[in-house]
Symmetry: C2
Subunit: 137 residues, 2 copies
DNA sequence: TTAAGTGTAATAAACACAATTACAGTTTTG
DNA sequence: CAAAACTGTAATTGTGTTTATTACACTTAA
């Protein structure tokens, strides 16, 4: 099972951007094709990041907290806090082996570079842009 | 459990680059701190990519097939064929929902861009460079 | 011919993630 | 104020992915 929180979150926000109003977790879950509880957990993360507002009670749900032009995919990425794009090796090094003792530090730099590259890419894409693409089919 | 094949593979190749000779899977496994069978499976992938040569039988093992200056992290990445850096959503779309029907295509483009960014980063780093970094501690 | 390796299948164990159930709390509306 | 319709959240189960382990046939050097 691959982590799809980023996908789910972008999907949810796109629906909110298109609908321009309050949408409940049940409706969002149907669009994403998942469980409402999964959606609500993501909504909490998105709210903590200041991207949406939620309302409890009857006729409650979620809506965007700001203009889609001012929401980037990087902000969504950070909101759901996914695992690094290149996994780090957390095992103990073999003390007798020089490579084993130093590879971790070196690979951390490599992973950091990969992360930076992805972040730069995501920073350049706004929710509004996705919305436009979807409108055009 | 996070996929560490890329980490393992880079580690293995770095040991081979430093040792400059045949190393058996038992020794490599101790350095990586994993099981020899796991190492041997990775060695098969690296051999298929033309990065190493292996030898069966007594005093067998693996060695680099070419100069570390001509091995990039991208080649290693491709050899182990890891999952995409951004996962794709494979679920069925909700036919009644316009966003649901089109988000997949849009997100595929986003994921492709992320992949390209990471690949570009990895293409710029050679095994030889890692070796140098490790030598300096 | 034996010792020490690789190649490879099969299975078990560990782990991450999503789905589901359940229910307390909140808010609107009649 | 009572009922309906939501959110917030904990607890548990189900499913898929990855690594570890065992086993053994095959290969090669000495």
């Amino acid at each position: 099972m691959v982590n799809q929180q980023f996908n789910f979150a972008v999907h949810i926000l796109t629906v909110l951007a298109v609908n321009r109003g309050v949408v409940d977790s049940q409706t969002l879950a149907r669009s994403v094709n998942t469980n409402p509880v999964v959606v609500r957990r993501l909504l909490l993360a998105l709210r903590a990041a200041g991207l949406i507002e939620t309302q409890a009670g009857k006729n409650g749900g979620a809506k965007l907290a700001r203009d889609p032009r001012r929401i980037t995919l990087l902000q969504i990425y950070d909101a759901v806090d996914p695992r690094p794009v290149l996994a780090m090796n957390e095992r103990k090094a073999a003390r007798h082996c020089f490579v084993s003792c130093n590879i971790k530090t070196v690979m951390a730099t490599v992973a950091e570079g990969a992360e930076t590259a992805v972040r730069k890419h995501l920073r350049g894409i706004t929710l509004h842009r996705l919305q436009q693409k979807i409108r055009r089919g």
